[in-house]
């Protein structure tokens, strides 16, 4: 039987989603998105997907919410024009019909999933010993389906290349984002001095614990990224110019190490991304340790956007 909490979560989710869709002010819509994301985190917990809940809280609600709020506040001057462009009744009716049809079809499908549900959990349980990790999701992500994780790191890198390509030509090589001017006694500066060391430690712990407990590099990287964003937002440190060699090296280090170890695995263990017997856990830790800084830097760069201030040569 379902508890009242689950029903409450479901109803609130739909209510917030409806709010996000129909409210006229864009900023209000985006502001509704963050509690919606946190509710979604609760939904994952009810469905006992703890790793996913961590990722959703960090990236789905946290980073995406911050990204959209930043966009909404920067785009505020277009609000008047946006509200003038209201769709006609015909569009709304068509949209409503299409939406209802899609929802009904999907609901029917999800209610008619076969019983007993086909699952790969027994397969995972059978082979997880060979991977050396205790968390089955980490085993799937870094052993059975390691290619998906490698490709995902590359997708993020392409995202950075794409975002950087949006810079004005004269600002190329410069620093992303606008200069932050914050007074030295601001609370933000205080937090930016106190929190990052704690945050970095927490991030590394989450990454380390991910081998055998819920966690992993994505969640850890997000915490570290958040710390760096805090430091930048407070004005303590400026965003690095994109032509800096160290920035580029850190960006590519994760995927590069992943590919290199994969090729080594082809030589030593017979298949690309295979791990030699008994060394699996060590290899996985090396890959994750290389990916952690790359991911943190990538997430920060995706958040701050393309270079917007030309680099003044000395």
């Amino acid at each position: 039987m379902i508890s009242a909490i689950s029903v409450g979560i479901g109803i609130l989710l739909l209510a917030l989603a409806l709010w996000t869709v129909v409210v006229r002010d864009t900023f209000a819509a985006v502001a509704g998105f963050i509690p919606y994301g946190l509710l979604l985190t609760l939904a994952w917990l009810v469905l006992r997907a703890v790793d996913v809940a961590l990722t959703e809280a960090a990236i789905g609600a946290g980073l995406t919410g911050a990204l959209l709020i930043r966009a909404a506040s920067r785009l505020h001057p277009t609000e008047a024009a946006a509200q003038a462009e209201t769709p006609g009744l015909g569009t709304r009716v068509v949209a409503g019909v299409a939406a209802a049809a899609v929802a009904v079809v999907i609901a029917v499908c999800l209610l008619r999933l076969p019983d007993p549900a086909p699952t790969l959990a027994p397969e995972v349980a059978r082979h997880i010993e060979a991977t050396g990790v205790g968390n089955p999701i980490t085993a799937v992500l870094l052993s059975f389906r390691a290619i998906d994780t490698l490709l995902e790191a590359i997708v993020l890198l392409f995202g950075v290349v794409g975002v950087w390509s949006l810079a004005p030509d004269r600002c190329w090589g410069g620093r992303p984002g606008l200069a932050q001017a914050v007074g030295p006694n601001d609370i933000l500066v205080y937090l930016a001095r106190v929190l990052p060391p704690i945050g970095v430690v927490i991030g590394i712990y989450i990454f380390w614990a991910g081998a055998d407990h819920p966690g992993g590099k994505f969640q850890g990287a997000t915490v570290i990224a958040a710390m760096w964003l805090l430091v930048m937002m407070s004005g303590l440190r400026d965003a690095p110019p994109v032509n800096r060699r160290w920035l580029r090296v850190v960006l590519v280090l994760g995927p590069a190490v992943f590919i290199a170890l994969g090729l080594l695995g082809a030589v030593m263990a017979g298949a690309f991304l295979a791990y030699p017997d008994g060394w699996a856990k060590l290899w996985i830790i090396v890959i994750e340790a290389a990916l952690l800084p790359s991911l943190a830097v990538t997430l920060v760069l995706l958040m701050v956007g393309p270079p917007q201030r030309p680099e003044v040569s000395p």
Binding site: V105, I106, V108, C109, L110, R112, L113, P114, A117, P118, T119, L120, E123, V124, H127, S143, F144, R145, A146, I147, D148, L151, E152, I154, V155, L157, F158, G159, V161, G162, W164, S165, L166, A167, P168, D169, W172, G173, N243, R245, R248, V249, L251, V252, P255, A256, I259, G262, G265, A266, A269, G270, A271, F272, L273, A274, Y275
Partner: protein, 504 residues
């Protein structure tokens, strides 16, 4: 459909499949870190090596007569991910490698880092995105797992969208945003289909799914969602609205990549799904619907192309039309001549890829020479760029379907399959499309051949090697019809006969 027992074993040389995907990605990493001119050099090296790998894969395929397979990480499906390359995959990989090579040669002129600057934005972005598109496409062609296919599609989107807005103008930014939104919704619908299939059958592997899938509401919904998503990404009528401004607004080399190659990725996914995953399940009225949209794309795209005032927009609408041909193969597959229809569709994709790339590159050279691409004022272009106009004419001949071009052979195969299965209306559509295409191709060539106004001189000199690259590409597409002389039908390697469709 493959038997599940064979599905899980790697074949010798399968590592090449992984290398074909990872080499371009490694090139992106190696180009981004040092940046500047190194990115271009890394791209050249990667292109050369990559072409070598694809040729080796093709050789092994022909020698073994069966598809190449590779279990990543040593884990067999359903737990692991399998890469599979059959004849269809390898043919597509070959044409992508050739087009990428030609575009890389051409782009030296447009995207060389100017001397005096250590690094410039557009050249760096272009070379990295070129390799990104290549790696993503190779992954689409060899992926044997529907979720890895989703990641491949996202890679393709992330590589293609910045190519549209590469010059930074407001209208290309708008076109890129529209393209991105269509592409993202398409991927999301596809992903929902992936999850439904996993929920119903417990596996993500294409071969295993093919063995398990049967008609039912879950399978029907999945195929509808996944196909709809792919149609949005392939810009099939009526979801084509994003394509003309995006492909026409991008720089010439980028337009060539987008129109010739990126579009084929999502089309290939539809082919994989309909031919392999959903095998005998889709046929009859659903396939007729899909081909019906294709027919409307052919007619609509060609008619609107005729009314364009700018060359690049004309070529972009021509792409909208040519994509329609690619979907005519689906109602023809389930019948006795089905193999012929598959080969015809594949040949159409290959010919269009090489011809459209040549056309867009030629349009870029014409723009350089004239300073504009208005169709009304093309006079003098042929005198200034004889090789390029010849290339344009050859590419146009492929699109029209004149012998001995690949387009002719493709249409011949498709039309004979249509007539053999009694569906004469598709043959009629193809003939009509060819007729309309010939009108605007002739118009462009004739206008360009008019003598220039006295005292006119080219705005900027066009290097020889660029013209040669374009001519080479166009000649390839024109001579593809000679593929009929090949002793083996490469498209059929690794495929078994499809069973009669279970009618909905």
């Amino acid at each position: 459909m493959m038997t599940p027992a064979l599905a899980g074993q790697s074949t010798p040389g399968g590592l090449l499949l992984a290398l074909a995907v990872l080499l371009p990605f490694a090139g992106v990493l190696a180009g981004l870190a040092p940046g500047g001119r190194h990115a271009q050099r890394v791209a050249w090296v990667t292109v050369a090596l990559g072409i070598g790998i694809v040729l080796e894969i093709a050789a092994r395929l022909l020698v073994s007569g069966d598809s190449l397979r590779y279990a990543l990480g040593g884990w067999a499906p359903p737990l692991g991910v399998m890469l599979r390359a059959d004849g269809l995959s390898v043919c597509m990989m070959l044409v992508v490698a050739v087009v990428v090579g030609a575009v890389a040669v051409y782009a030296n002129g447009d995207f060389g880092t100017p001397s005096g600057t250590r690094e410039a934005r557009a050249p760096l972005a272009f070379w990295l995105l070129l390799l990104a598109v290549w790696g993503a496409l190779n992954l689409v062609f060899v992926s044997g797992d529907i979720f890895t296919l989703y990641v491949a599609l996202e890679l393709l989107t992330f590589a293609g969208v910045p190519l549209v807005s590469l010059d930074g103008r407001a209208e290309t930014l708008q076109a890129a945003l529209r393209y991105l939104l269509y592409a993202l919704i398409g991927s999301m619908l596809y992903l929902l289909g992936v999850f439904l299939l996993y929920g119903a059958y417990g596996t993500l592997d294409i071969a295993l799914l093919a063995g398990k899938i049967g008609p039912g509401p879950l399978a029907w919904t999945a195929v509808a969602l996944m196909s709809a998503g792919m149609l949005a990404k392939t810009a099939l009528f009526p979801l084509h609205l994003w394509l003309p401004p995006a492909h026409a607004g991008a720089p010439a080399a980028a337009s060539a990549l987008l129109s010739a190659l990126v579009i084929k990725g999502s089309w290939f996914v539809v082919v994989r799904l309909w031919l392999d995953v959903f095998g005998g399940m889709v046929g009859g009225s659903v396939a007729q619907l899909l081909a019906g949209l294709g027919a409307m794309a052919i007619l609509f795209g060609n008619v609107v192309a005729l009314r364009q005032a700018r060359l690049k927009l004309l070529i972009a609408y021509s792409t909208v039309a040519q994509i329609g041909y690619l979907f005519l193969l689906f109602p023809l597959v389930a019948h006795d001549e089905g193999a012929r229809a598959v080969t015809g569709g594949l040949l159409q994709a290959i010919s269009h890829a090489s011809a459209k790339a040549a056309m867009f590159l030629a349009a870029g050279l014409i723009y350089s020479t004239l300073g504009h691409d208005r169709l009304a004022d093309l006079r003098g272009a042929a005198r200034a760029l004889p090789m390029t106009l010849t290339a344009f004419a050859l590419a146009g001949a492929t699109l029209i379907g004149l012998p001995p071009s690949g387009g002719f052979l493709a249409k011949w195969l498709l039309m004979s399959a249509a007539l053999a299965s009694g569906q004469w209306w598709w043959a009629l559509t193809m003939l009509l499309g060819g007729l309309l295409t010939s009108v605007y191709v002739f118009m462009v060539v004739v206008r360009a051949m008019e003598p220039a106004a006295p005292g006119w001189s080219p705005k900027k000199p066009v290097p020889r090697y660029q013209q040669l690259a374009v001519l080479g590409l166009a000649t390839c597409s024109f001579l593809l019809g000679l593929a009929v002389l090949l002793p083996v039908d490469m498209a059929q390697i690794g495929r078994t006969v499809t069973t009669q469709a279970g009618m909905p």
